[in-house]
Symmetry: C2
């Protein structure tokens, strides 16, 4: 099993070889790196900020223990004086960031780190790893919640998430954007979020008859049973559930709902709804699951398919249609000098920056302006906040519930065409005059002198 006391080693080797080169060449000036996403994956028109809390904890606790140093020594790549220096290396820099739960758009800096270059460089891998995953999933989950049109959506993805850490972060990121809960019990404990779930097919198939399984289950959970009715035949399963529901009612108990996990989910929901309605059991809820994503949910919403809620699994938990973002952590300032990278197709925005958000009449979001940190643009809200100074968190982090409310509130102000789950209208993002000028000047310099 993984231990977690050597997270500083969770970095790319080149971060350490570059660190040695900086150290030996006495290049220890302050550097600023900017994390941003270069492009929207298909059908995306916004992103949701997530992952910052893990980044800040990592930075506060950053250090190489002696076993880590011993390992680095064993690689025969590093000089003794450099490894001595690494023993006492801590993260002493400052961090500005867009808070969790807020919307951001392509090219906008989400996190900017300013620190002596070795420190700011070495933490790159972890920062990208966490922000990429969590913002990716928060965005995918936001799309599901939006598509569900007010019906509850819960996270069933743990078994197919990419490992343990992803399972935890997916539960948290989806709750951040409005999921009602998760099946992941450990996430329920860790994040204080609701946990959900009742039975699997194996419970039914371990009994000789489906109705025996239903009777057995409701005996243990007389007031919160959701019976899974598709193990053999969904319609027959619904009739068995009606029978058990009536037995429960006679005992003063109440069947909460049924779940359909396979087959033609739209048609089955309608038939099952009719069966319960005809039995005068209108309060029994129908939960849909089984390979669902936001595209299915939107279709069901449009067609008024009578699901009360959804369990969403794999395709949300791995962001199936777009399992990564094109995010980068780029040097934008070294010492007193703003820096630009010009690799083909990969132009970065130089300097320490700020994102200014403009709200229209009626409180709808109108446009963003990416500018220089020291600029101020009247009537706009600056999004990046300083959250770390001298390697310490400078303001109490919001609770997960507070960040969830931040998201809910801001998302309600995003224009609907930008929320569309297919071919969204892009939200306007401009560069400030100051940033445009700096960039043009640097482009000229770079092309002259490289």
């Amino acid at each position: 099993m993984a231990t977690e006391n050597d997270l500083a080693l969770l970095t790319d080797l080149y971060q350490l070889t570059m660190a040695q080169a900086y150290f030996q060449n006495r290049r220890m000036e302050s550097a600023t790196f900017s994390l941003f996403i270069r492009a929207y994956p298909a059908n995306r028109g916004y992103f949701v900020s997530a992952g910052l809390e893990d980044v800040l904890e990592f930075l506060e606790g950053f250090s190489f223990d002696s076993a880590a140093i011993d390992y680095l020594h064993s690689l025969k790549l590093f000089a003794d004086d450099f490894l001595d220096f690494m023993k006492s290396l801590r993260f002493t820099g400052e961090v500005w960031a867009i808070p969790e739960g807020r919307l951001f758009f392509k090219d906008e800096p989400i996190v900017e780190v300013t620190a002596p270059i070795i420190e700011a460089q070495i933490v790159e891998t972890f920062i990208i790893n966490q922000i990429n995953l969590q913002s990716l999933i928060a965005t995918k989950a936001a799309r599901c919640v939006h598509a569900a049109g007010g019906r509850a959506v819960v996270d069933f993805s743990l078994r197919r998430t990419h490992g343990i850490d992803a399972g935890m972060k997916v539960a948290r990121s989806s709750y951040l954007t409005g999921f009602a809960g998760t099946s992941n019990v450990r996430a329920g404990r860790r994040y204080g979020m609701p946990v959900v779930g009742t039975m699997a097919h194996s419970f039914v198939s371990s009994h000789d008859h489906e109705i025996d399984a239903f009777r057995s289950f409701v005996k243990s959970f007389p007031n919160n049973s959701i019976l899974l009715i598709d193990t053999y035949d969904t319609i027959a399963g619904a009739r068995n559930a009606v029978q058990v529901g009536k037995e429960m009612a006679a005992r003063g108990e109440r069947l909460q709902g049924v779940r359909i996990d396979s087959g033609d989910l739209a048609t089955l929901a309608r038939e099952v709804r009719k069966i319960f309605d005809a039995a005068d059991m209108k309060e029994v809820k129908i939960i849909g699951s089984g390979g669902l994503d936001e595209f299915d949910l939107a279709e069901f919403s449009d067609a008024n398919v009578p699901y009360n809620s959804y369990g969403v699994g794999t395709k949300m938990g791995v962001s199936g249609d777009a399992p990564w973002t094109d995010c980068a952590y780029k040097l934008v300032e070294y010492g007193e000098r703003s820096v630009l990278k010009l690799s083909t197709g990969k132009v970065s925005l130089p300097g320490r920056k700020q994102v200014f958000r403009l709200t229209a009449a009626g409180n709808q979001l109108q446009k963003d302006v990416i500018g220089l940190r020291e600029e101020s643009i009247e009537g706009t809200e600056p999004l990046l906040q300083q959250i770390m100074q001298d390697g310490r968190i400078t303001r109490p982090l919001p609770t997960l519930e507070a960040s969830r409310e931040t998201f809910r509130e801001e998302f309600s102000r995003l224009p609907n065409p930008t929320k569309a789950i297919r071919d969204p209208v892009l939200y306007p993002v401009e560069l400030s005059a100051g940033l445009s000028e700096l960039r043009q000047e640097l482009e000229r310099q770079v092309r002259r002198s490289s």
Copy 2:
């Protein structure tokens, strides 16, 4: 940061509600669950077994600590006698599995767990989580190695893998199938595998001139520098690298190689190769990276693009074109009774099983037969081995190096049409007469009685 002492809680809530129902209804008989993959993702014709070591460690250490029990109590779902029972719950069952590094095919059981039903059920989520991820990545990585046609491939994916655990498991799974190393330093330490990497664009852009950055870097790494030459202009970068390489040669040092990370990678490699060859520096290697996957590598191999090795990142690390497998862990036996599930489109194979592998003349793999555990088929090799009994590992696990060799040897025996990275020819897998009969009999029973 995550602690890892409560991994037993890394399960779906329904595993625990079902456990309570089994407990309260005194259904504690032995059950067998079978883990298999139902279908090939696009362009896949085989899978590579990976993840077993983590599963076995998890099962050996499985228990709920008192804080976990307290948390479960707080949910107000569980009875006191059940939670008392859970306090002393350990995994006491047996496990049969296809060893890591071996090939398997759709519908074949990879892992079969036999234990009292509560134990066998509750561990489902973790087992799927790890086997799905690691077999998925091992398969993707095997495709990359095959496509590279003998050129070395290394793992650069850590920043885009889905979290910490995935970063570790991707490094391990890709090494298992022939990757030469990883950039992930923590994986190098944990798994004893080679670590690789030298410099990033930021190192270049932090200097006033590219050639200053190169000179500075090789001073620290006179014998193992790979210079990244695409920060500004790849051709100009190659000329700067030639200059620095000649300065190194004059000092008795040697430039190891250059890396190209953007632009038209095929064209640039040819031009850069010409530049070094013309400078009489034929030994300088060219490494390609930047969004590569097995499809690019195959194209470069076919066209003899002069790369010596590749860094492969995101698309391998998240299995970009297929970020999950359709794997399931199904109840196949309860007590003395074999079990079948018939949900639409999801038919399982009942009973405890074995996979029998047949080898043709010339040592090529010929076909597999899925049969019952107690069957034996002459001239075939049974793939599933018993690796756990009474909750304890029964045989020393192979080292990662040994599993890597297992993969290398067996993969060389897989027919080439099945290895094709597009539209592979499916490998023949049959059901034994015994298994076919059992399945038909159960289908008849189920349809009569459900």
